[in-house]
Symmetry: D3
Subunit: 217 residues, 6 copies
């Protein structure tokens, strides 16, 4: 297996762990170079205290380093406010990150999600990755367990039997975000989703992904 | 709450437990009259031994009685062979059952399922329930956890926190069908699906349903 | 039947009558507490005369009182201008109304509607009702007959044979909005839609709804 | 306007009148040559009396002649039994009719219909019309009002203000099939559907169609 | 055939040629009056040099005149910036153009396109054409070959065997936009798309369209 | 790269070449072991002469050997007659082939295809590959250019710049099936589709695939 540059794009700090913490750890163990780009600051819509922006960034870096991510890019767009930003501005920032990191594979947020930030990060990523602009080999989206109605039907399942505990441990760095079950941001919820995706793929624990496009040379 | 006649239609013995065992128990505790109709014998495609047909029927009756089902109708169509039966024949049999039981609410198998038996039972039920023929008030489909690709997006969630253990106990009557996790017919799979549907609805354990039609007088 | 707090959310004054005037009257006769929230002022994009905003509000209150609505909340967002408002602002306002009224059931505008106001009110309602924030038991959308292409496929039909005349009478309070048939805001159009939804459900007159989510404890 | 050969394909006698009786009359007044092909005998699944097959054929011819249809082709496949006929056999019969009539435009039954006969006639027509085999210029499907769930979203609306009474009069030839409102095969249902499609297109009465394919030389 | 007023709406100068250059030429030869409305200036997001706006306009006029377009309307909204413009403003401008030109048929950009400008021009056109406002007889969208994921499934195919060279020649006026194959804006790409749409329709070269709505009096 | 067992499933002899001849050659050059399974005899519905069954098989073997396929399995189900075969029988045959070949990756026919044989081979393959039965790592479907309406939206593109001539040469072994352009089974059609898929992926020639499921250990 060749060593790849991997770019993970999330809308808020913690999307990357909830969505693909196990797969991040797995890719890290395989020796790939992992880079994270977080599009919004992920706090201002939920907390009045501005310090929470820094708190979540610190959680993100700690969790990411634990999983093996080597670089962190925070675009600092407003939480739950992406639809008010000119789309071109988001796309340009993503294009710059992509230029800098030169990834062969990109993971982004899911498409059919009522959470606008997830949807807009998804759409902006797809445009930033158009084949006339870059030579990204593979673009996928991960799943963000949500209390909102969405329709995520994975077609790629990654076995994370050996990484499920690391996924949970990394989420524990997001102290401010952990909730009680049955909240989607609870330990027990992470375990249950991981088992359900496992049942669908014949593994004990799995993470589901949906392939957007793959260009095979 | 009025006491209702409830008809549950399954394609194979065990669909009803896997799909809505918790809700069956819950409706039973509420005093409703529960009737089961199993469309195929559910064994001949999987077992060479013809006795297995009787084995699965007995499991079905035991599990059903445990959950509070009072009548059992086995249509005995061939397992994994519904597409070779004239559709009108399946519809007529369902119409007869519906006439006999006179239910106000019917639960059936899911629609977008690659398992043809599930799909055809679904379609035949919908036709047997058309409003010019009957006065069924409510028609829903339950979810059948499956290793096959399907797209079940529930819009009704039933809290089964108090019934999850009964659901699991009732499934244990299907001795021949229980498999090891991560098979979808394992105890741990049932628990994980019930938690994931719970996360989406704010309950600790839930079963998901999709409303097909409701006629409110 | 328990007495419920019901919240009806409309994008413009008259959506609630065109969409579910019969069902509002029916729920009122059943003794439920009915509350209306109108998201935009519904006039500024169509009339130069600013007074029309007040005219439409007065029509709304008269029509609503006739149907049995007991409280009216006007959010006064700009007519045909919701996409320019930060989404979070709309959601927060709806969350406040929901907190104040504490409804068990919410009705909102349809989803697949080319009229952006209808679509955005729908999406904002769904987010404001997420199960981690509230304990709304049932969320539905009603149908708004439209000259624009849309795809409303109801799964709930409410018999309004006894309320169709009340529906029409209540719409007559919206003097400025009544048009000649075959305009969708004409008396004859209301009657025709009500009969077509009736044909599909076995009633003489019906209103169609689509269930978004229901959480049954 | 050039005089065209028009082929109307229905699954059962009366589909053509319910679906497009007004448009048939209109095309007849415009001087086109109209041909009908009815795929099933349309009676055996609903009536024990075999004579009903002839009764429905006679109704069909009378109604059709009233509307201006000049030739009638009855393929006599079993009512509600098309799924048991080898598909190739249905396609071959349709190909023969198409060869004989050499139509420039074909109308067929709708696609997303739970009534299997409608769905299979639709699919077989599309295959019989593939461009490598024929030079059909235009293929459309009409709408069959139904108590079953379907999703017919027309993109072509034909003004039938001048033909609505002819449509209703022609349906009266199907004495055995007329039902009381709110049955979909009632006079009042025909009027209501025609008004609703009118509201969506700015006409007083309209019939809706969906364009499948058009090849413009 | 009657002489018609035809309005072609594009998001950027060159959409009209790439999408339907052959059909424009064909309609011109048939004697129809052809009018173009370009919604954005189509340059500012791609070129720093402001002069490029004029360059592209000049290319557009030259290409259009070559194809037989007689009037050009440039709305000058910002390139890749339509989502930040109040939607009502775009709709009003289109309504004004429609009022001025009084077309019987309108062509617009495709719907399911990740390029936001294409999507928003499509949606705004559909609203500007609602039957209560105008009497547009026919509304279609053309296809814009794109490196982005989209799902254009034409249902109308126009034979352009005699116009394919004119299409290519007209595109050559857009000197700044021509790219090397396999870029979608290359000569060889235009030829390949035209052949593929031809294969699907039995012509040697074709352009694909999707019918949005047609109102036939 | 590891050497893999690859199974290609086609409905008729020539699907495999039209759909993925370039990719077959490419995988062969990479050293993978390639196996073909053809589900129907592919001739009886189109030719009266029974000898054509053998003719097409011989073409298939010659074309396949040219591309590097090492084993050929002909299931000999009737051409255009799969819907009349008990589905379980098709599935069992595919399961046996899968057991024998033990592939890590399977390619099959597309899903949303009006050609029933393509659709049923697709569905049967998916069921035969369910994770509780096998450990297939990857399941994809290829594209079959068709005069029938279908909706193939690839998410995987394979660069076949170096294999396009081999693809065309291999198709020439199917002498009886080659047609004149613009027939989909013409040389010029193969070239045009390959360029269009190239435009969408940034290659000069490409084949498009859709990922059904991938299980990554």
């Amino acid at each position: 297996m060749n060593i790849m540059n991997v770019l993970i794009i999330s809308a808020h700090p913690d999307d990357e762990v909830l969505g693909m913490g196990g797969t991040i750890k797995k890719m890290s163990k395989q020796g790939h170079n992992l880079h994270l780009c977080v599009v919004t600051e992920g706090a201002s819509a939920q907390y009045l205290d501005k310090k929470m922006i820094e708190v979540r960034k610190k959680s993100c870096v700690k969790a990411g380093e634990f999983l093996g991510i080597s670089s962190f890019n925070f675009l600092d767009f407003p939480d739950m406010g992406l639809e008010a930003i000119p789309r071109l501005q988001i796309i340009r920032k993503l294009e710059n990150i992509i230029k800098k990191i030169n990834p062969e594979i990109i993971f982004t947020t899911p498409k059919n999600d009522l959470h606008l930030d997830h949807k807009l990060v998804h759409e902006s990523t797809v445009i930033a990755c158009r084949p006339t602009k870059n030579k990204i080999k593979k673009l996928l989206c991960y799943e963000i367990p949500s209390p909102l109605i969405n329709q995520f039907n994975p077609n790629i399942y990654e076995n994370i039997e050996l990484e499920i505990e690391d996924k949970i441990n990394s989420f524990q760095f997001y102290e401010s975000e952990i909730e009680e079950f049955p909240h989607p941001r609870s330990i027990e919820s992470i375990r249950a989703f991981s088992k359900v995706r496992g049942v669908q793929s014949g593994f004990k624990n799995a993470e589901g992904f949906s392939l957007i496009q793959s260009f095979q040379n």
